[in-house]
Amino acid sequence: MSLPKPVMRGLLGKRLRLHLPIAFALSLVTAIAFKYGVTEPRKQAYADFYKQYDAVKEFNSMKEAGVFESVQPSGE
């Protein structure tokens, strides 16, 4: 009936020593993954869109479609 005395102290410290570096590493990985998976492609998409963007042409197409209140389509 004599079991060894269980560990009574330092339990939180032991857990943190393992889990804090893991937490930091995982957060860093998540941030890097988000940067290169989401924000960089998004910036590229915006750059590509505006490289070939003709604002006047777009405006005229929208005007002809009749979505504006200040300008009417050329027919009316």
Binding site: F49, S61, M62, A65, V67
Partner: protein, 176 residues
């Protein structure tokens, strides 16, 4: 069949009513003497709970002479207690062991049944509402209206970079 459901409902209601009507010592005084057993909740109570291994008090308060002598013997070295005495001491302190507490019961069937009954009733209520309460269907739900809405969204070039209009090919007049 229905009387079974009614019996279950009856027991549910009875349990709820019993909880609501448990008298505390204060209420007992105002009601006059009633036959039902009262529990004085202002004093430490005993309960069998999986998450409370040591309740506020022991199970048995009134110890017989044999129990009292056993308690005296407990004050000495425990190696001198026989196994039956140890079990008897345990049963003085506690009502059920953990395995006894963890024994599966059929209560969940009642609960799930009650849940389904009320969900079914709610379904009937909702169906009646759809017949007698709901206003006429908004015109924005019509297919024609929604097609015109979609066309307007594309005309306005909403979210043309990564969103909605980016999926429409404006030269060819079709989805990409």
């Amino acid at each position: 069949m229905l009387h079974l459901i009614a019996a279950r409902m009856g027991s549910l209601m009875a349990r709820r009513a019993a909880v609501a009507l448990t008298t505390s010592s204060a209420r007992m005084a105002s009601h006059g003497r009633e036959v039902s057993e009262t529990v004085d909740m202002s004093r430490p109570m005993y309960w069998d709970r999986l998450d409370t291994p040591l309740p506020d008090k022991a199970y048995k308060d009134e110890l017989t002479a044999a129990d009292k002598s056993l308690k005296q013997k407990e004050k000495g070295p425990w190696s001198q207690l026989t196994n039956e005495e140890k079990i008897a001491l345990y049963r003085l302190m506690f009502n059920q062991t953990y395995p006894e507490m963890k024994q599966p019961r059929s209560e969940w069937k009642t609960i799930v049944g009650g849940i389904f009954i009320f969900m079914g009733f709610t379904g009937l209520v909702v169906w009646w509402q759809s017949l007698y309460v709901y206003p006429p269907r908004p015109r924005t739900f019509d297919d024609e209206w929604q097609a015109k809405q979609l066309q307007r969204i594309l005309d306005m070039r909403m979210n043309p970079i990564e969103g909605f209009s980016s999926k429409w090919d404006y030269e060819k007049g079709q989805w990409k």
